[in-house]
Amino acid sequence: MRYLDCNTFIGRPSGHRPYLTRAVSPGELAAEMDRVGIHEAAVYHVLAHEYAPQTGNELLLSELGRAPEGVRERLRPVGVVLPPHTGEVPEPEELVAGLLAAGVRMARIFPSSEMAGHRFSLAPWCSGELLAALERVRMPLAVDFTLFRRGEPPWREVHDLAEGHPGLPVILMDVQGRNNRTLYPLLKRFGNLYVQSAGFNVHRGLEDLCSRFGAHRVVFGSGYPLRSMGGARMQLDGAGLPAADRELIASGTLAGLLAAVTVKEEIAYAG
């Protein structure tokens, strides 16, 4: 079975003493992947979250470009994006074209109004053009609300996001453990919603979710280097699921989504 972790980052975070007080390089990330038995990872740069998306994205591509062979090809770059209205990032079509040209096949947003978030609305009047541009090329979008452990996603926004962009694969990164009563009707209603595995911290939760909606709705992810990659792997390995379901979660679904990103329009956009 192959594992593709959808939720990792590199760089030096502001700090989470004592858990994480170091800069994590691509090589160090790959070393942990080797230790835990993870083949590939989708990775963003922590400065794209904690400082500025464009700066972090550029650092990510630079650091991955310098990574040694055997590391570089296992790490899939994730672009952190914003709506365009403040001029911090290009207009959505240009932004997405740039990501595609750089080899990026997955995007991530931090829309929360909490201190850790980028504080923008997912409403159509704010994020509609950005989301439409991502949807047009079917680029998977990791949505990270940076929730504290008892937090709850802004369900109305999740509903409208999934409803308004049915061609956009939306991966909820941090559903947390207490939210299945509202999550389930959304999964039932919208086939383009996915759940990151370690962010769904529920007893027999993977088994329950998969029995209702199918294993293809869960995507393996850890949150490393902040969260335990071994824990995420054990969550999946220790789930009472058939091997075929675990394979879908481990890498099958996300690999399929990444392969389905439309890249042929890249030149047209760039031009």
Partner: protein, 272 residues
């Protein structure tokens, strides 16, 4: 590139695994699939967990007698695999001592679980909890208390540990919300405080930090099952970058010294 077979940490067999922080039953906030004891034991079998020490959700919140009865029944269904925490509610102060006596007439009860947050933030050193500390001191019973933002400060745990040196005091969630630097300072000076790793095991590096600062002897594996996902917590422990001897202590040997004697039926063990 990793091998196709699972790495040794995830597939290892352990001589004894004791989960010192389990619950049982429904919880008001959300749906818990398979929250009955049989479904919990299935997870224990998948992971190779030998013994779970259980405090019912009803006991830590809604109705302590109802919850303690659930625990007693669960222990009867799975003798040796399931042990119990007796839960009391300080808002029913006159009934605390009697409930402790009632529970501990059953040898399956091996500890006391306190959850001040769900019982009106009642202070751990308040008068309604005094019978708990006195009972625990008389019988040397481990007491596991939840710790949390906004609850009793770390100094209250330290003062209680000093006042009742024969009580093994398990600091729930390792006192994560206080900051582990402060926890290390307090625990290092008090041999009767033990750290329940439930929750902090999700974070990379916690086990490594605590083993380096305190040694493995004071650390206990816990999962919060079925409140949280047990494999996620178990993986955080068995994949930690500490040596096997330390993991054996954290996973089971330390708990056996506190909650024993243990006579678990063998766990079926992790799937091939």
């Amino acid at each position: 590139m990793p091998a196709e077979t699972p790495p040794v940490e995830g597939d290892a067999r352990w001589p004894l695994v004791v989960d010192v922080h389990c619950h049982l039953g429904a919880f008001r906030n959300f749906h818990i699939p398979g929250h009955d004891i049989d479904a919990m034991v299935e997870v224990m079998d998948l992971l190779g967990v030998d013994v779970a020490v259980v405090a019912a959700h009803a006991g830590i919140y809604a109705d302590y007698r109802f919850g303690n009865d659930q625990v007693a029944e669960a222990a009867r269904r799975h003798p040796g695999r399931v042990l119990g925490y007796c839960c009391v509610n300080p808002n029913y102060a006159a009934e605390v001592r009697g409930e402790l006596e009632r529970c501990f007439a059953d040898p399956a009860f091996r500890g006391i679980k306190l959850h001040p947050e769900l019982h009106g933030d009642y202070p751990l050193d308040g008068p309604a909890y005094r019978p708990v500390w006195e009972f625990a001191a008389e019988r040397r019973v481990p007491v596991l208390s939840h710790s949390y933002f906004g609850g009793d400060p770390l100094g209250v745990f330290a003062a209680l540990a000093d006042e009742y040196p024969t009580v093994p005091l398990l600091l729930g969630h390792a006192g994560l919300d206080y900051g582990l630097d402060r926890v290390v300072d307090v625990v290092g000076e008090r041999p009767n405080i033990h750290l329940d790793l439930t929750g902090p095991l999700s974070w990379d590096g916690v086990v490594e930090f605590l083993v380096a600062e305190l040694g493995a002897e004071r650390l206990l594996y816990g999962s919060d099952m079925p409140f949280m996902n047990a494999p996620l917590q178990f993986g955080g422990c068995v994949y930690a970058r500490v040596d096997r001897a330390a993991k054996e202590r954290v996973l089971g040997a330390n708990a056996a010294a506190l909650f024993g004697p243990l006579e678990p039926a063998p766990a079926i063990g992790r799937r091939a």
